[in-house]
Every structure is written in structure tokens, then in C-alpha cells.
């Protein structure tokens, strides 16, 4: 059984993830590839470390695939996320979604990366020239979107 949703400490092959969603019914594949960016808000990143709650993260990726299937029934999704130490330009995540027509592929692929940033237990530590820090809630919003408990609100 092919594994469509993977969290791994090995480098990710775009080709390999993409191949999983190629099929006769599909005419379009949209990939999203997240790479390590050197500058964020003018601050230079030297490297990143990703840590995951691996078993749950894979479950959540699978859940995103199921959500996509509900919204775009003809879509097939594969996602691989990397963990460990990454250098600038290294690939952190590869999403591949195939659909019969292109618009759905773009929409579903974008949906997948938004959801990853919401509900998948993976954390990023940025290493700068003058320090390092675990980054939380990249969406820079206090309220958590649906599908995930509401954080402080829930537990207050």
C-alpha cells in the first residue's frame, strides 16, 4: 500500500510525491513546495529545525487529504513533510494534488498548505545569527480556525 501522507527526516523528492497522484482521470497536478527562505521580515535565517509529533502529524495530513476529497471529490492528494535540520533552499514540504481540471488542483493544493499550518503538529525552530527560537502559530492570528480546538479560549 502506497503511503500518501508522510513525515520523514529524509530529503523529499518532488518527482516521487508527484508520481503518487498521476492517473488517467487527471489532467492537472498542482504541487506546492515549501523551501527554507533566507530572509523573513528582514531577518536572516541560517537554518531551520523541524520537529514533529510524527504519528499524529501523519494522521492529520491524512485528514487533510480526506477534507480535500470531501470538497473536491475527484482529487487525489499526497503530502510529505520533512523534519530535522534544514539549510536555506532545502525542501520542507511537498504537496501534490491531481484533479481532472486545473482550477480544482490549484484550489485544493492551496487548501492543503493552509490546513498544514493550522492542524498538523509540526514545529519550526529558526536559527538566526543572533539566536534561535521555536516559531508558533505562523498564521499570526490568535483565534484558531475550525477543525482544531480553540487554544486558550477552550481551556480558560
Amino acid at each position: 500500500m502506497e503511503r500518501l501522507f508522510i513525515v520523514t527526516d529524509q530529503p523529499i523528492s518532488v518527482e516521487e510525491v508527484t508520481k503518487k497522484v498521476v492517473r488517467p482521470e487527471a489532467g492537472a497536478i498542482s504541487n506546492f513546495i515549501g523551501t527554507v527562505r533566507e530572509y523573513t521580515h528582514g531577518r536572516r535565517t541560517l537554518s531551520l529545525t523541524y520537529e514533529a509529533y510524527q504519528s499524529m502529524a501523519e494522521k492529520q495530513l491524512k485528514r487533510i487529504g480526506e477534507e480535500i476529497k470531501e470538497k473536491w471529490p475527484d482529487a487525489k492528494t499526497a503530502i510529505t513533510h520533512r523534519t530535522g535540520d534544514l539549510a536555506i533552499s532545502d525542501i520542507a514540504v511537498v504537496i501534490a494534488v491531481s484533479t481532472p481540471h486545473r482550477k480544482d488542483a490549484f484550489r485544493a493544493s492551496e487548501y492543503a498548505i493552509e490546513r498544514i499550518k493550522q492542524i498538523v503538529p509540526i514545529w519550526k525552530k529558526e536559527h538566526w545569527e543572533d539566536g534561535e527560537e521555536w516559531i508558533g502559530n505562523q498564521l499570526e492570528t490568535e483565534a484558531y480556525p475550525e477543525g482544531k480546538p480553540k487554544g486558550e479560549e477552550i481551556y480558560d
Binding site: M56, I116, Q118, P121, I122, Y155
Partner: protein
């Protein structure tokens, strides 16, 4: 006995990947209160997963469950 997994800055703060609570049963809310008192963990922005599913504040955790403290995620 309940095992609690820690990740990211929590793991560094607590100094270990796992905490053990000598309890047979408690709610998520009670767990967070206890962690706050005993380990000085800031539980404000934490979400709790029980057996790899996000849990509600009133959900009950039992001995043998796998509990994880999930700080705001930053993958992707």
C-alpha cells in the same frame, strides 16, 4: 499513570520529552492546571491531544492514554 509528551519549546523548557503524572483519571482542564502548578508550564496557548486526536477541555484522560501538549504549530 498518565504519560504526557512535550514538543518544541516545551520539551526544552521541561527538559524532557515526557512527563509522568501519577493519576488514574482527570479532565484535560485538570491536567493543564496540574502541569501549570507542578512544572510551571504556560498552558495558555497549548492544545492537548489525547491518543493523537485534539481533545476538548472537558474530555477525560485515563491511565494508559497517550497525551500530547501541542503548542501552536508552525509546519509547512
Amino acid at each position: 499513570m498518565i504519560n504526557v509528551l512535550c514538543f518544541a519549546h516545551l520539551k526544552e523548557q521541561v527538559g524532557q520529552e515526557q512527563l509522568e503524572l501519577a493519576r488514574d483519571e482527570l479532565t484535560v482542564k485538570e491536567l493543564l492546571q496540574e502541569l501549570h502548578e507542578q512544572h510551571s508550564i504556560d498552558t495558555d496557548s497549548l492544545i492537548v491531544a489525547v491518543n493523537e486526536e485534539y481533545a476538548d477541555v472537558d474530555d477525560v484522560i485515563k491511565s494508559g492514554d497517550t497525551v500530547a501538549l501541542i503548542p501552536p504549530v508552525s509546519g509547512g
